[in-house]
Point group: C2
Chain length 186, copies 2
């Protein structure tokens, strides 16, 4: 695997779950774990159901589209409980997807939240995201890529912390926009 | 000079000069030319006169404040013709300032624009920014630092292009927020 492959990492900006209807999504195109090459932005509805569609639109608009080797997500939700259908994202974009988590997700809590929001139809996406793998540093789920290949990409891009650079930097930008200053996540 | 010194680079987000009253300012805290450690945001008035004050507020709020070895600016204006008083910024923050330019600024055009905007009082800041130095890659002006020391910092942080990383990345973020996708500046 070339160290300079292009990877697109997504995270959302900090938002106020009581007052914000939308939040910004930040996409960072990274060359391996080495340097930032482009930044994309768009919005998703807080606790809505447009996350998959928004990410597909962002990928399709990017001039780096044809060169992307993977899409990385911080978990499988953006803007609160706006769940991403990672297999649909991988299939429709033609790009493998790796969803990265620090901790085991609380699926019971997510089920209850989705029910409370009247978004029961998103619940199957939680199971559809498949097995949660563990590479010793982070947990991850995959679509259109083997767990072994995904683990290699995670290791290669986590040059500054346990978190792959495309996600670490998307998080810093999202936090900086939402709060005025990012708090470290190293 | 340690390769991992902290430097804060500022740029503005893309804006529509006919319709936007304010634009976002992005600050990137970098460890040398190596990696992004924090992102700050605030706003300035388009063609206003609050740029110096905004940057001072951003620096003073940053948790990295006491560790910053330099502030880098993309030119000496933000949000159109909102001119930064680089010596006041350096003196009041206690941090040296380096303003970086790709091309020789058109001072005649800037004078005319400031007069047209009724901001004649900002015109002296253009001369106050001092001699324009040339390190063979970029042009720069300095406050509270020697041109030699500034040139060393520029070389050390320009790891991916002629532009120091704190400014290259602040520009990518600003363009990505303003337009939905940054255009390369490498």
């Amino acid at each position: 695997m070339k160290r300079e492959i292009r990877i697109l990492g997504f995270d959302d900006a900090s938002f106020d779950k009581f007052s914000d209807r939308e939040t910004l999504v930040i996409g960072c195109v990274f060359r391996g774990g080495l340097w930032l090459e482009g930044v994309l932005t768009d919005t998703v509805t807080v606790d809505g159901d447009d996350a998959t569609e928004t990410l597909l639109r962002m990928v399709s608009r990017s001039r780096f589209r044809s060169q992307l080797q993977a899409i990385m997500l911080d978990g499988i939700a953006l803007g609160g409980f706006n769940i991403v259908d990672i297999s649909a994202l991988a299939e429709k974009s033609g790009i493998p997807v790796i969803a990265v988590m620090r901790d085991q997700p609380d699926l019971g809590k997510m089920h209850r939240a989705l029910r409370k929001l009247g978004k029961e139809r998103l619940i199957p996406l939680l199971a559809k995201a498949g097995t949660i793998h563990n590479d010793g540093k982070v947990l991850f789920q995959v679509a259109s890529i083997s767990p072994e290949e995904a683990a290699r990409m995670l290791r290669m891009t986590a040059t500054r912390s346990d978190i792959p650079e495309p996600l670490r930097v998307a998080h810093l930008i999202g936090a900086g926009i939402g709060k005025g200053e990012s708090t470290g996540r190293a």
